[in-house]
Symmetry: C2
Subunit: 336 residues, 2 copies
Amino acid sequence: MDIGGLGEFSLIASIRRRMEGKYPPEVALGIGDDCAVLQPQAGMEWVITTDTQVEDVHFRREWLTPYQIGWRAMAVNLSDIAAMGAQPFGALAALALPAAIEAAFFDQLLDGLCDLGLRHQCPLVGGNLARDPAHLSLTLTVLGHVPRSHSVRRGGARAGDDIWVSGQLGGSAAGLRTFLQTIPLADPVCTALRRRYTQPQPRVREAIFLRASGCLTSMIDLSDGLAGDLGHLCEESGVGAQIVAAALPLQAGVREVSAVLGEDPLELALRGGEDFELCCTARPGTLGSLLDGFRAQFGIDLTRIGSMTSERSLQLVHADGSQALLSPQAFDHFHG
Amino acid sequence: MDIGGLGEFSLIASIRRRMEGKYPPEVALGIGDDCAVLQPQAGMEWVITTDTQVEDVHFRREWLTPYQIGWRAMAVNLSDIAAMGAQPFGALAALALPAAIEAAFFDQLLDGLCDLGLRHQCPLVGGNLARDPAHLSLTLTVLGHVPRSHSVRRGGARAGDDIWVSGQLGGSAAGLRTFLQTIPLADPVCTALRRRYTQPQPRVREAIFLRASGCLTSMIDLSDGLAGDLGHLCEESGVGAQIVAAALPLQAGVREVSAVLGEDPLELALRGGEDFELCCTARPGTLGSLLDGFRAQFGIDLTRIGSMTSERSLQLVHADGSQALLSPQAFDHFHG
């Protein structure tokens, strides 16, 4: 049975049933009316973001399972909520789908989307289903809450602040390249790289931990690549940054993939994009004491990769002391 | 110059500049960060909706100007906010576009989207731009506010309530048919019908007026056609409805278009869809005294078209007293 045969309203009813009993106190009315109704809680501010995943632009059906297509659409949005230091609490899913999509495919896509959402207390509170004859297109909008005046923005970094990144870089771009080209890699390494692309982990809890430390001055998630995203952060803050090349935490396998492709492995970290790690700035010397606790709680590292500078440029410092000016050019969806 | 040449970040910067100084108090931070930051106001609840317009499914580029494409994408969402009796205050626009779209086309699309939004105090507070090689696809998410516990829902209608609709019905579907087929019609009539399809007017102020009367028990906007939408309302309220065929306020030209096509003109009102009028229920005899004020303020009528019933079916009563059971089947986006 394809979803055309099931019909729009039967699909919406099935999503509504999935969400029964799963709404947090902020959601007074979920799926089933013209709008969802939300109840702001005292002392909180809310954040909201939206992001689209288009088939054959952001993913191909032969690379991702239906479950991963749904997961990824939720992940990229949760990562933006995380970048504000906020707790997600509800999502709207606008799904445009060919009518010939099988019901089982649709169910698995929703499984991925809802599994990741509910892991982070973020049920679907609304959405829209439309026919798209060309391809799958998934636009999610996600809401989060954060104590009033405590959202972490891009514009708060100051010269002298330390720059930190969570986890490891370059994995997603390297994983994507293994789909595009056969690259000799040990199976577990290849699987781990691909997983960074197919099922990214938004750093929601990690971001709340960091925000709650009170040390952060700014934060952004790494969706377009470190050079571009840190470039955005510098621009909003009116400062520059100096990154230490040797400090960049490259994921295992990134060097091997780069070697096969004849690329500089740093490029995958700086411009590869879609690692969905956090990049944050903190007052000098303040986050160091939290590193062990962070690693113990989340199983990933927090790495200091450089400092903010008063000179408004983005510099990469190599091991021999030489410096290169990084163009802040991020991944551009129309050039990409 | 096409938008591929301008690039994603230049386009975002231009949208951001458009919105400077236009944010209401609810918007603490608009375009330019990972998320928009929102400040709930005391005593209010919020409503949120999302809707997608896909090229060649919901519209064709030869039917709509770029301005109207943008207008329509905003209108269909504002209509859902209106259906709750809420005041919109911010929108997120996730636009997926072919890179070959001209910069002037993109600007005009934004003009339409922003003009209608700002007429209703609803600026863009965020969004996403993605490449879509196949076609235009516009997903808007709109937020609104309404005094706490005063949102008007689908589930509050009771047997005996009067059923009312704003404005006139069938015009959008008739207008659409004039694009599909040459139909002999006086120019002003044809223009008025087409305008219902190309540039619908969401009934935001009208809905707030009606909600503030305190008489409403339920409301829905007419996007799928009266039969389908009233069917949703009946289902959520656990009641039925009886509609008087002769009372349905058909727009001028609907009968002529139906005659040419050999269709029943009532079908265009009942199933044509996309009129984006309001359908509401009120306690018996309560709204009548407001009709003159409504007409004077908004230039459109409010028409009583029937009553809610305890029998859970949707009946159409003809002038000769005969009754027909209406299937509540609404427009289905996968069958449509």
